[in-house]
Symmetry: C2
Subunit: 369 residues, 2 copies
DNA sequence: CGCGTTTACTGAACCGGTTTAGGACCCGAG
DNA sequence: CTCGGGTCCTAAACCGGTTCAGTAAACGCG
């Protein structure tokens, strides 16, 4: 009974069985109007009896397009998915790719190399998330000359881009906190894939980190904190992966190091919610004892207790715009100029921020722990 | 300057430029040991000068494999990503596919048809999430005979499966709540892609819903509630999409309909957290006035306030196991028997559940609103 | 020097479709 | 009867690689 691996029927098999040419079979599926209706029907019947399905790879090769677009991330997918941000971004991308009948391929480093992954990827174009100039393989990626839209990275001449005004958003967050009277603020930065490339671990590392999202947001924070005369010392910036756990651990670590902030500026909502949890462990009340500001404005921020003050960025729309730009570029004959979109951010004040506690300003407030 | 669309160099171009055959070029990349070292080097130099990259689609066609696996979801991706559950599952899948050098393609219905999407998908195998017998295209999908591992669906003879003991988990949740003394419990079910196919809207719709996850969990709940003499009336089961917003809205809706539960059994953590938020709006204190139990045990459950009592299921591991099973099956010569894994669930009691309030049992407790 | 073996490479078939140019046939008009 | 035109279908080229069988030259060796 068990056939020794029945070979998948191919177009030639159908053609033979139906007594027509391969071309006729192809037409029956793709240009039925070129055949006599009854012929087309007969071919389709035969095809279905044989269980024939056109081989998608062969079709791609011949058609010279894959009807698939890629989402490129410099981190392994297991890391990418850990940040809820990605789901919303992907939701945006997929909503427009789906509408246009494109599939979605996730592209992450293959055995350490993004270039290798990109070379293997069967896509018509790519939405690259957080791929900045500092990426070690950036030149190779550029040379691959796959149609590409950059997200959260400054665009290049040849590639369109979708950005968000990270710096202004971060500044607004910091100004809010300064305006409430806080003097001791902890910054929780997201541990980028592109870590600070220079060995110099200076806290004002804006320059070294390069134009990553982290760098831009940090610049935004500092541009509000420094003019207000707040010293942002080495201990007041901690770095963590953009996850709940990361935020919790980061805050706890800072606390153990003796830092007693009255406000936290977190570079993502996930980090902020982690910090919220950490503060609960330490029996700090938010916002009475501690103010927390996030970044992203993911739905989860509305559902935390208290609801999170955060910087809104249109995450879903970023995905949509990027996908649209990419598809437009694919449709247009080559030579259409790159477009660069800068989307706005805005501070959303909810209930996780308030005035600092009365006794603040000294290092030893003696709360909790 | 602007060349009229410089054609991508192909292997023949490299061969000609290097004065060798196509085969030699191919060897230079894939079997360098078959060439004299200097020849291989020379070819590679020429190739790189021309900017040659082997065409991935052609390679797939020839190699008869794509080195890509698909994750198939019956819902549009925009819906799929809205449930945080998916990110963790995908994390699991991707961790093993990445390790083996496989890419990840997301497969969702194409213009309404999953079959169409599957036929277009260039994958060596598929992990199908929540694809149960009731799916209208199930027969066509089966016939496609793509290597497939079913997740959260009973396996078929020909396909391996990874499941979780939903029924036992749900029963444990309900028993916990009953054990605490609750009599008025609200069930928030997830609105499946496969909604109840029969028009009969009976509340005990376990049968009609078929073997979906929702059906299994509902059976589990009822198997603990009914023996305890709790009546599970029409008003006590509400349905919502598995998102934060869905849970919030569902609870509010039930409340407006006059239902006054002292406990909520939610079929996902996202729903539970939404319910938590709704209870805050209504000024119900959890767990004093209301107990809430989730399902999944996603990290977010640890970070809610109060931390969520929930049914743990190994979401990440489900993804890993499915991917592993699939890859094993691909490696093995055909005929290796399907394997079926049933993973355990367990109740994790945190702080969102407690005894019902003293005055409970009557419908009009007069709390909040 | 002659013969068998290696080495280094090539030509052609193959993967499974799509598409273009054109052939066979039939019809109606001149 | 012939010619133009339309209909329906086919042969062959093509997409861009990999691989198998085979060959020519170099090599080892008695």
């Amino acid at each position: 009974m068990q056939q020794t691996r029945v070979r998948r029927p191919r177009i030639a098999d159908v053609a033979e069985a139906a007594g027509v040419s391969k071309a006729a079979v192809s037409f029956a599926f793709n240009n039925p109007e070129r055949l006599k209706p009854e012929t087309a029907d007969r071919i389709r019947v035969v095809a279905s009896e044989l269980g024939y399905r056109p081989h998608p790879v062969a079709r791609m090769l011949s058609a010279q397009r894959t009807m698939t677009i890629g989402v490129l991330t410099p981190q392994p997918l297991s890391q990418v998915f850990a940040n809820p941000f990605f789901a919303y971004f992907a939701e945006g991308v997929s909503s427009v790719t789906e509408e246009h009948g494109f599939g979605l391929l996730l592209i992450s480093p293959l055995r350490g190399s993004l270039t290798r992954a990109l070379d293997r990827a069967t896509v018509d174009g790519v939405v690259a998330l957080g791929l900045d100039e500092n990426h070690p393989e950036i030149e190779a990626i550029r040379r691959a000359s796959v149609p590409m839209v950059l997200v959260d990275a400054p665009g290049w001449v040849e590639h369109s881009s979708v950005q968000v005004d990270d710096e202004a958003g971060a500044r607004a967050a910091a100004e809010h906190v300064v305006g409430l009277g806080h003097r001791d603020v902890l910054i929780i930065a997201v541990e980028g894939p592109v870590a600070n490339p220079s060995p110099d671990e200076g806290p004002n590392g804006g320059q070294e980190i390069g134009e990553s999202v982290t760098a831009r947001r940090l610049r935004g924070y500092l541009s509000a904190l420094e003019p207000a005369g707040l010293e942002v010392g080495p201990g007041s910036i901690v770095v963590a992966p953009a996850t709940f756990e990361g935020g919790e651990a980061a805050f706890l670590r800072a606390w153990e190091d003796g830092f007693r902030p009255t406000a936290v500026l977190a570079m993502s909502d996930a980090l902020a919610i982690g910090a919220l949890q950490a503060s609960r462990h330490l029996r700090l009340r938010v916002p009475r004892d501690l103010s927390v500001v996030g970044f992203d404005d993911l739905p989860i921020g509305r559902f935390s207790d208290p609801p999170l003050t955060t910087v809104h960025q249109p995450v879903r729309r970023k995905g949509e715009e990027a996908a649209r730009l990419l598809l437009d570029g694919l449709g247009a004959r080559a030579g259409s100029p790159a477009q660069h979109r800068m989307l706005k951010t805005r501070l959303v004040v909810r209930r996780s921020t308030g005035a600092p506690p009365a006794g603040a300003g000294r290092e030893e407030v003696g709360l909790g722990e």
